[in-house]
Symmetry: C2
Subunit: 320 residues, 2 copies
């Protein structure tokens, strides 16, 4: 932790229950509530890889925390504490202040205390570790999907991917889409509401087909997704009259930070009621089936039930 920059961060850091010792020592000291399990997620954002060059520092700060809270949401955990490791090419106090505006706005809203971290010199990179709390046996995992389950997704898909595509083409990006790219809203309340109802859950960061594939492999099942059912925002519908292209953004885009989950058919009403309490829309987009001979697969079908082939199979950083 490096001196004045750390002081700057410490002076503004959110506090909450359970923080015995926050920023400023060799490590933070935290007191977990008795009996609760800890959910721990770490994600790094690198300039030019996870956000376009020129993204406002406040948006980078927001997103660096949001993608981690989205992971906690997908576990059904209540966010509690986070650490922030910030690599910066130079010591720009104004940049850090603006970054913290976004980071702490989301931290405050979600009741997350920033308890430690470090700042260091290097290419712009932000590594956040987020800690959440969940009662034993209540966590939503990837490995609980069962044949016969419905497949659901919260909110709408494809806005962020469309915004990124437009930005890459130097086109005008409608503000509603750009907002989805820059200020993703982690589905924290929805995830907690689904604990005890959903069988399996994942957050949609690499495209719903790719992410559902992780659930299928972990659960040793296959899935069928009806691309016509993928939920669209009004802004996306207004932007893109070409249905096929829109569905590609929705099925294989990325940066949605919605939850994709499976639940038994008998729980349909419970799902709707739980998510209504969390002020979150959800749509059934398909079903879970027994694994094929070839293993766990995700089959996308169009309105006539024919195979529908996305152009790119989700965003992959590395594939060997």
């Amino acid at each position: 932790m490096e001196f004045d920059l750390i002081e700057r961060i410490r002076a503004r850091a959110t506090r909450r229950d359970g923080v015995v010792l926050g920023i400023g020592d060799d490590a933070a000291l935290l007191q977990p509530p008795p009996g609760m399990q800890l959910a721990v997620a770490t994600d790094t954002l690198n300039a030019g890889v996870h956000f376009p060059d020129g993204t406002a520092p406040a948006d980078i700060g927001w997103k660096a925390l949001a993608v981690n809270l989205s992971d906690l949401a997908a576990m059904g955990a209540r966010p509690a504490w986070c650490t922030l490791s910030l690599s910066l090419p130079d010591a720009a106090a104004a940049w850090v202040d603006a970054f913290l505006d976004g980071f702490l706005a989301l931290a405050d809203r979600e009741g997350v205390a920033l308890v430690g971290g470090d700042t260091t010199r290097g290419p712009l990179s932000i590594c956040v570790t987020a800690h959440g709390l969940v009662a034993p046996g209540r966590a939503l995992r990837r490995d609980g999907a069962r044949a016969g389950d419905d497949v659901w997704v919260t909110g709408t898909l494809g806005d962020a991917a469309a915004a990124l595509a437009l930005w890459r083409q130097n086109g005008d990006v409608p503000p509603a889409l750009r907002q989805r790219l820059d200020r993703p809203q982690p589905r924290v309340e929805a995830g907690r509401a689904l604990a005890g109802i959903a069988h399996a859950c994942i957050d949609v960061s690499d495209g719903v087909l790719a992410d559902l594939g992780h659930v299928c492999r972990a659960s040793a099942v296959s899935a069928r997704v009806e691309v016509d059912a993928l939920p669209s925002s009004p802004a996306l519908l207004a932007l893109q009259p070409d249905d096929d292209r829109r569905r590609r953004w929705q099925a294989s885009g990325g940066d949605d930070y919605e939850l994709c989950f499976t639940a038994p058919v008998v729980a349909r009403e419970a799902v709707v009621a739980a998510l209504a309490d969390a002020a979150c829309a959800a749509t059934r987009i398909g079903g879970i089936e027994p694994a094929d001979d070839g293993g766990a697969t995700v089959r996308a079908v169009d309105g006539e039930g024919g195979a529908w082939q996305p152009v790119q199979p989700g965003y992959r950083h590395f594939v060997s």
Copy 2:
């Protein structure tokens, strides 16, 4: 967490008690033991900043975990779990395997489970978050030093700084010194042994004078350090006949990862006995005094009691 690279890491990750769910979901699930507090440290290593270009990947892996375990050691905490966020310019499986050789060698030795993280594309950067356990009220903090305390340091100082200086001059680096730079040994057992005895503690990463300064500011005291007392390794003594230069590496170098701690004079025997059990040498290097009018300061004195001025005031990433 990105696909095949993650599988590679998961297949080799250490496990231990308390890991309900390790690598492979949106977040790890951990069960802290009843009543224990959690110590959480995060540190990032960037290529060219925290290790010389050309450092062996196994050494980078070792050091990325070691610097975090050193932070837990300085709290008197027992390491338990860690996450790893790895940014790589390309997907080099051989590099990752070698990196894991070093990382997991230390993790296994210290009983630390690797429970999650992510891999992503970007300039080489490693962010580790380490979790340790400590009983309430037992943690070693920076803010407990009191006037009249002795100041102690474990092991010897300056080897890593000397190795780095030689490397920068393209000189031959004696293996014993290079080892201290590349494979720092976190003082985990020593830190745990000092819990309940020491008043304050910090790990020495930026030079002992600079790090002791953090203790003084947190504790609102000043300190006197006798530079002639700074402990030297045989390899450093053999390398450097110039006492003054050697003491600069020892006082203001960096990357020592020893513990600097304060303890009351009546605890001298207890300190020696506790550290003997931990197979760790320790040396008294000065004392804590009331804060000066100008605030908390660290005064380095030579054998005649005169002021001794280090050339550089510790390694600082950023100072505004």
